[in-house]
């Protein structure tokens, strides 16, 4: 299918690209390890796009350091989806009502639709693509699979990120604690009890691993 995160759609002007590559050399090495994402031109804008104020930011995306030039008005979600092609982060309302775009920024959840990309300068962002490690699903993702937490799946990334942040703060939450912590993540399939089941199970399994000395 032609929908994979393909090569950047258009070239930037030569000047911009040279400047960009000159400053982004160090990040290039790291980011090139991320399959399917080429660093140069990843924030490129199509030819004919009106010039808008841009700012260079440094941030860590799913563990990889990035140096990026971004339009000042881009939201974090827009940068992640349209320009880094991390499309696991979904946009359900773009006004902070639904939580589908939830990401973890420096350990706290934010709605990436309501957070500017430039504000992420110097911070570390984790998206749903950053949960699996070395191709293995995170135990939380695995619990979502086993407990049928995604129905249509559109809210799932946001639910996972809120749940991940919850488990970091409260490793073995109760059902009520999960519902309270995830109240900002809507699910129109109303699969809330399945989602809570999955998070509680992931927490309980994590507690067992810790007690038995096994790490993950």
């Amino acid at each position: 299918m032609s929908t994979d995160p393909e090569k950047p759609t258009e070239q930037e002007s030569d000047v911009t690209r040279r400047e960009f590559l000159g400053t982004a050399g160090a990040a290039l090495v790291v980011a090139a390890a991320v399959p399917g994402v080429a660093v140069e031109g990843q924030t490129a804008r199509p030819a004919g796009t009106p010039s808008r104020p841009r700012t260079q930011i440094r941030l860590t995306v799913n563990g990889a350091q990035r140096r990026l030039e971004v339009d000042d008005h881009w939201t974090l979600a827009e940068m992640l989806r349209d320009h880094l092609r991390l499309t696991g982060t979904k946009l359900g309302c773009e006004r902070g009502e639904c939580g589908a775009c939830t990401v973890i920024l420096d350990g706290k959840t934010v709605y990436s639709c309501s957070y500017l990309a430039v504000w992420a300068d110097g911070k570390s962002v984790t998206t749903v693509e950053g949960l699996a490690k070395n191709g293995a699903l995170d135990p939380l993702q695995q619990a979502f699979v086993v407990h049928d937490a995604p129905q249509c799946g559109f809210c799932t990334s946001g639910q996972l990120m809120s749940a991940k942040a919850l488990l970091s703060a409260n490793p073995a939450p109760t059902v009520a604690e999960v519902h309270a912590a995830l109240a900002g993540n809507l699910c129109r399939c109303s699969n809330y009890s399945r989602i809570a089941e999955a998070v509680v199970a992931a927490g309980a399994a994590g507690a067992t691993r810790r007690t038995s000395g096994g790490g993950q």
Partner: protein, 726 residues
């Protein structure tokens, strides 16, 4: 909390291998890792972005549109309006509101175009712009100037019936039937007047239900792309086959020149088993611009530009004898269809009861509101709530326990209706037992001390599970690897996992030995589409038929060699002759109502369903739980209200729509009574819609039991509860 549903097998059900095992979705890893590709995740080289300009008026004639400033904006590549995008959107307005087909397109008088003049609701598309990015497109939309002649409007369906109401169409405000007649739809049995004469008591009541938006999490978006004269459309649709044919028909091009792709869809919930105006608009923009175009809806676009459940006003008159038996039911329904007839506008409910004399009259009315359409159980929850609330009142009035009243009067397997199998009584008895009905229900509604009052309610369901035509193609290669091609899109219930389970069981191989190919009209055969809770039944039956054929071929010829394939195609079109095939269910709920603050809390929710044999108890249970959750939103929260003075919709997002959250939905205790009536794949029946249908009714009855006041309008808000108690 239960991990699995409680399952009670009737004698007709013999164990199978994969069927009946709780099976995680085969695509679950993609869904939890961000790899699942939804329409808006599609990026094509040189792709433009589109935005829609919408009418700010509920009813207006467009005198002229000035595009000069928008066209002058750098980066704008194409603009379409009613002047240069003059395509009929066939499925957008259908005489009679029945399933759309080629013949209906010819006779439908009240045609809906991709862009209409006059515009008939706030939010109706007026123009669309494609530009190099979404910000330029947004700016261009703001630079378009439209000169409107504002016309009088009507929002309320009963107002629209009045002779002096503003007219939306020359033929008047009653939506035309499939024969283009402007008359209400009447169906009757017996003679209701005779029934009322025979009654000891006659009850009359008015109920109303509100518009609820599908509000699926994925806002509508489309990517359209021409390669020469071949159009590819990525679009969220529950039925790629129907959407495909609709697009070709509307654009006047051959079917084979259109390809529709939908691999993942962020929720369906109704009226998406066809094309949408957005598909046409994006295709024409892409043609004009000579580049791929992605149209993106905002949440507000989706709320005001799509569709929701039709609001209704229902007038019931019911006759009953002293012994609690029904003598007559009469119903007059006025449904609010918005300005176009997409679906029928009817309400279910009367068929649930054994009654000799019934009469139902439906007025599907045009108004200047967002279009109404099918939404999970199109006619059902808004039909079940009034009649089951009223029958609950009747039960109290004749001093009967509501469960006994239902058992006495509910539809039976008998001369009037012959069912393929019948378990409604079992669902109700089992539910009452699991719920401990006698312990939780109060014989005197509203009794008890203190501001927090508890109450229990019951409601039931008998819902179509028809069989019908769908297709599947199955191949096997030299290594014994099977590939199943099905035109499903897997909108959430887990269709492709179900198809995989059915194929694996019939072939006698592990799930992993069958690869499922789905969601693309260039590779998949016709499928009935994921609507009407019928994919498992109809496409599942096609999978069984194809698998049996392929097994026979293998037995005769052996496995192919080299790169050869054996292939079986099936398009069965089974029928249930002379019988009715329904699924059944009963819900019981205990609520706590705060009589000082008006809040409702759920203490226990029991759902017992007979949906034939359950293919995958894991996903089937999720459907019931989720259906109840949606039903709670409809029962207590959701109402797309309008400003009466301006005709502007006030609920244009989740915040004011108040769809249920993690804090609103209780865990539901789900039981499946399993049966095999000999139809469908191994006896499978409908699941998807069945969880939602009786939820508003059961909550209404529990609230009545708690506070002793009947709320006769949905949603049952805090304000309405406090108003009833004041």
């Amino acid at each position: 909390m239960q991990d699995n549903p409680r399952r009670i097998a009737t004698s007709s059900v013999s164990p199978m291998k994969a069927i009946g095992q709780p099976t995680p979705r085969i695509d679950a890893a993609d869904r939890v890792s961000g790899r699942a590709t939804y329409t808006r995740d599609v990026y094509l080289d040189g792709m433009l972005y589109a935005q829609v300009l919408r009418s700010p008026h509920p009813h207006a004639r467009i005198r002229s549109i000035d595009l000069s400033r928008a066209k002058a904006l750098p980066g704008v590549k194409a603009i379409v309006t009613h002047e240069n995008c003059n395509y009929v959107w066939g499925a957008g307005s259908i005489a009679g509101g029945v399933q759309y087909n080629d013949d209906l397109k010819k006779i439908t008088k009240q045609r809906r175009y991709a862009f209409n003049n006059p515009v008939r609701y706030v939010g109706e598309p007026v123009a669309a712009v494609a530009a190099v990015d979404r910000h330029v497109a947004e700016e261009a939309v703001r630079l378009i100037t439209v000169d409107y002649e504002v016309l009088p409007f009507v929002l309320d369906q009963e107002e629209a019936l009045k002779p002096d109401a503003p007219k939306l169409w020359p033929e008047g405000n009653i939506s035309l039937t499939a024969r283009n007649e402007a008359a209400p739809t009447v169906s009757k049995r017996g003679d209701v007047e005779q029934g009322f004469r025979e009654a000891d008591h006659v009850f009359e009541e008015r109920y109303s239900t509100a518009m609820c938006h599908n509000a699926q999490m994925e806002p509508r978006s489309v990517v359209a792309h021409w390669e020469g004269d071949k159009l590819t459309v990525y679009t969220p649709t529950g039925g790629i086959a129907n959407c495909h044919h609709d697009i070709a028909r509307d654009l006047g091009i051959p079917d084979e020149k259109v390809r529709v792709i939908c691999h993942y869809m962020g929720g369906n919930f109704g009226n998406k088993n066809q094309n949408q105006d957005t598909d046409l608009i994006t295709a024409i923009l892409a043609k004009e611009a000579g580049a791929p175009v992605k149209l993106e809806f905002s949440r507000k676009d989706d709320f005001i530009g799509m569709h929701g459940r039709w609001p209704t006003v229902q007038y019931y008159k019911v006759g009953v004898k002293n012994d609690g038996s029904l003598t007559a039911i009469q119903l007059r329904t006025v449904s609010n269809m918005g300005p176009y007839r997409k679906n029928n506008g009817g309400v279910a409910g009367i068929e649930l009861y054994e009654c000799p004399h019934t009469e139902s009259t439906l007025f599907p009315m045009y108004t200047n509101r967002t279009t109404s359409a099918n939404y999970r159980g199109p006619n059902d929850p808004q039909g079940y709530y009034p009649i089951q609330s009223l029958m609950d009142d009747v039960a109290y009035a004749v001093k009967m326990d509501p469960v006994d009243f239902i058992l006495k009067n509910m539809v039976k397997d008998g001369p009037r209706t012959r069912f393929t199998n019948y378990t409604l009584d079992e669902c109700i008895r089992k539910g009452a037992e699991l719920f401990e009905w006698k312990k939780r229900w109060k014989p005197v509604a509203g009794s008890g001390d203190g501001p927090i009052k508890r109450g229990a309610g019951v409601a039931f369901m008998s819902f179509r599970s028809g069989v019908g035509n769908s297709s599947a193609v199955l191949t096997v290669d030299a290594r014994g690897q099977y590939t199943l091609y099905v035109g499903v899109t897997d909108v959430g219930p887990g269709a492709k996992t179900t198809m995989n389970i059915i194929a694996a069981d019939e072939l006698g191989v592990p799930l992993s030995q069958v690869k499922v190919v789905w969601g693309d009209t260039d590779t998949c055969p016709y499928s009935v589409g994921e609507s009407g809770s019928r994919t498992t039944i109809m496409t599942g039956e096609a999978v069984v038929t194809a698998a049996r054929d392929l097994k026979k071929q293998i037995a005769e010829k052996g496995l192919p060699t080299g790169t050869g394939l054996l292939k079986a195609s099936a398009s069965p079109n089974p029928r249930v002759e002379g019988k009715t095939r329904n699924c059944f269910g009963a819900h019981f709920v205990e609520v706590e109502v705060d009589t000082e603050l008006g809040g409702v809390r759920f203490l226990k929710y029991v759902a017992v369903h007979e949906s034939g044999r359950i293919m995958n108890p894991l996903t089937a249970t999720s459907q019931i739980k989720g259906g109840v959750g949606m039903g709670i939103g409809m029962a207590l929260h959701e109402d797309l209200i309008y400003d009466r003075r301006t005709g502007i919709p006030l609920v244009t997002g989740y915040y004011f729509d108040r769809i249920p959250t993690h804090l609103d939905v209780p865990d539901v205790d789900v039981t499946f009574i399993e049966a095999d009536d000999g139809y469908g794949p191994y006896g499978a029946k409908s699941v998807g819609e069945s969880g939602m249908i009786q939820t508003p009714a059961v909550i209404s009855n529990a609230i009545y039991n708690a506070i002793g006041k009947r709320i006769k309008d949905l949603p049952i808000t805090r304000a309405r509860i406090l108003g009833a108690l004041a």
